[in-house]
């Protein structure tokens, strides 16, 4: 699959501080790539380098085969960007803004169609400063699509939005993918990345600490799936004796690690066979958020140790 974005050994230094420290990844055309990381990890710096808004210190970066810094003008004709906290001229309406961008890009897009696509038709003639947070983000999204971009860079597009507005933005992102566009999405919401992204990269302290599809990352870095049942310590002992399973009792709940799918059935059969009382049978597995929190937490611990903290 052709790469829409190709990054190798990317470094961005501010004085002696390396905000981005030798990262590399590739984003295939027509996929949704989610770039995750805690605040100050280097997400926005990387995104801005890819968008041609910031100069890199070292490394190779190709976006649609172009160098974003030196070929910025040509690249901007082919990409769409919603920055974090999209802002526009206060007294301008979405329709007027699209007409403005249409003239600048020399395209023939219909403002009505574009606003319909982002579900903002009812606010076509409302001024920017009268719109809600979600409507402003949709406004930004519509503007980013004015030039029919091949790649959409969405930098935390749903931050601060209510659940309904977030879902509306998700629908637009899914639609962008259906249309064959590449989406580069940075977000704080891990659930969003898990739902939308084909590939994910987690960045922390300027380096990538995990990459792959959400399922691959969970499988590689997450804890195995667990089954839990409410029962007595006697039941836990029974399961340990009969299944050799690592049954742990916590807060009146027996938790058993599942090595494969068939394990759940075996455990349930054994519980039933024990004749002991039990209730509330559930299975749980790590989400991308669990993995993220653990990985970033490990990085923080490592950093503290290297600084000599107790």
């Amino acid at each position: 699959m052709t790469a829409a974005i190709e990054v190798n050994g990317l470094v961005k230094r501010y004085g002696t501080l390396a905000a981005v420290d030798g990262i590399g990844f590739s984003v295939p055309v027509g996929t949704v790539f989610s770039f995750l990381g805690p605040n100050g990890a280097g997400k926005t710096t990387t995104t801005e380098i890819l968008e041609g808004l910031r100069r890199r210190t070292e490394g190779e970066v190709q976006v649609l085969g172009l160098d974003p810094w030196t070929d910025g003008r040509e690249l901007h004709q082919r990409i769409g960007v919603i920055p974090q906290d999209f802002r526009f001229f206060d007294k301008i309406t979405p329709k007027e803004a699209i007409e403005y961008y249409r003239a600048l890009f020399g395209t023939k897009v219909n403002p009505g169609t574009l606003l319909e696509q982002v579900e903002l038709s009812d606010k076509a003639n409302s001024r920017y400063d009268t719109l809600s947070g979600g409507q402003k983000q949709k406004f930004g999204l519509a503007l980013a699509l004015t030039n029919d971009p091949e790649i959409c860079f969405l930098d935390e597009p749903t931050t601060g939005l209510d659940p309904h507005a977030r879902r509306a933005i998700w629908a637009v992102i899914r639609n962008l993918k259906r249309e064959g566009r590449t989406v580069f999405l940075t977000t704080h919401y891990l659930e969003e990345a898990e739902l939308l992204a084909d590939q994910v990269a987690i960045i922390d302290r300027g380096t990538i600490i995990a990459a792959g599809s959400p399922a691959e990352i969970i499988q590689t870095h997450g804890k195995p799936a667990r089954m839990s049942v409410e029962g007595s310590p006697v039941l836990a002992e029974y399961l340990r004796m009969n299944l050799g399973a690592s049954a742990v009792v916590e807060d009146g709940k027996i938790s058993v690690t599942l090595s494969n799918k068939g394990d759940a059935l075996k455990i349930l059969t054994a519980i039933e066979a024990s004749g002991l009382p039990w209730t509330s049978f559930t299975t749980t597995h790590d989400t991308l958020e669990d993995v993220f929190v653990r990985l970033v937490g490990q990085m923080d611990e490592g950093a503290l140790k290297s600084q000599g903290a107790p």
Binding site: L53, R54, R55, H76, P83, F86, R87, L104, F105
Partner: protein, 370 residues
């Protein structure tokens, strides 16, 4: 009412205030600027002498020379005799930045001897009231002295030497006539400067420049569109000011195409300068501060409300490095004094300055970060 609450809030107010450079500028620095500027502008009134340009048509007759010597001896005026025909004298004064002038007519000596009333013509500039007052007082005093000296048979003699007053400039009658070009200059300065300084810093802070940098719009195109907007706005404001001056106050203004270059090049300069000031500042607060520091001296020292020639020599020299001086002087030359060659020089100065500042602004104002 609890004192503790008031004290706590007072602390917050004072902290907010002292951490806001613009507020500090307007309350602490601006009054100092005002008092210094006005003090310097009007300091001539109390010290030194005012130049009085004289046309002596009585061909250096004894009486006329004595009259001028008496004026010089008052030490408040400094007589400077020139050879200009009385018809062109008013324009001559305007074109050469003189605020006061005096014409001694032919036959002054014989009229004085024969006790025939003779009228001098005193030219003053309503924009330089202090010089006008000083000179008029001196002329009145010397004329009274000559009237007393004149031999007279009667107990009460009618005065022989009198004077009529006229304004400097070819078609000028009132203070408002002088004020209009100055006020147009004031609008050319303030409107683009204040708004561009604000735009340059707030658009950067809000990420609007970043947003625009992702479009094919270039910085030069963006700045040019702003310049064109302010040129259009300047034409409208000038029209309103001239209209109000003429219809409400009966001003006499020469509407000439010679004004157009200044209404174009003025906004060109100040939009670029505002952008430059806003670009070098790191925050909107410091941008506003830089903007004020540049704007305020120009507001008062460029001939907006007071004629530059009425200021002390040091301030006059300072005024001549201010770009607004050339905009206002150019407009004065075309609207009041019909002096096209000097207006053309003024225009060239502003045009060259505008090109330099425009290029600098484009270079220093960044859409994107390093």
């Amino acid at each position: 009412m609890r004192l503790r609450n008031i004290a706590a809030d007072f602390r917050i107010v004072s902290r907010t205030y002292f951490r806001n450079p613009v507020a500090l500028f307007f309350s602490l620095v601006f009054p100092i600027i005002l008092i210094s500027l006005f003090g310097l502008i009007f300091s001539t009134a109390g010290s030194g002498s005012v130049t009085l340009v004289v046309v002596n048509e009585d061909h250096n007759s004894h009486a006329s020379v004595e009259f001028l010597a008496a004026l010089n001896n008052t030490h408040v005026v400094n007589v400077q005799v020139v050879s200009v025909t009385p018809k062109n004298f008013s324009s001559y004064l305007g074109q050469n930045d003189y605020s006061t002038g005096l014409v001694i007519p032919v036959g002054f000596q014989s009229d004085l001897a024969n006790r025939t009333p003779v009228n001098l013509t005193l030219y003053t500039n309503p924009q330089d009231a202090s010089s006008a007052g000083i000179v008029e007082g001196a002329v009145q005093g010397v004329a009274a002295y000559f009237n007393l000296q004149a031999v007279c048979a009667q107990k009460t003699c009618p005065p022989v030497v009198g004077y009529t007053t006229a304004y400097v400039g070819s078609q000028v009658y009132k203070y408002i006539d002088y004020l209009i070009p100055g006020l147009i200059g004031f609008a050319i300065l303030t409107s683009p400067m204040f708004s561009m300084v604000d735009i340059a810093s707030s658009y950067r802070k809000d990420g609007i420049f970043r947003e625009l940098s992702l479009t094919p719009l270039t910085r030069a195109e963006w700045l040019t569109s702003r310049i064109l907007w302010y040129v259009a706005l300047t034409f409208v404001t000038s029209g309103i000011m001239i209209g109000a001056g003429v219809f409400l106050f009966g001003a006499h203004v020469t509407l000439t195409t010679g004004m157009i270059p200044f209404l174009v090049v003025g906004p060109f300069f100040f939009v670029s300068l505002g952008m430059l000031a806003g670009s070098v500042a790191k925050t909107p607060e410091s941008a506003a501060l830089i903007g004020n520091i540049i704007t305020f001296p120009m507001m008062f020292l460029s001939g907006t409300f007071f004629q530059v020639s009425s200021m002390p020599a040091g301030l006059q020299a300072f005024a001549r490095i201010l770009p607004l001086y050339y905009v206002i002087d150019g407009m004065n030359q075309v609207m009041l004094y019909s002096n096209a060659s000097r207006a053309f020089t003024d225009f060239l100065v502003v045009l060259i300055g505008s090109i330099v500042v425009f290029l600098l602004a484009i270079r220093l104002f960044k859409w994107r970060d390093e």
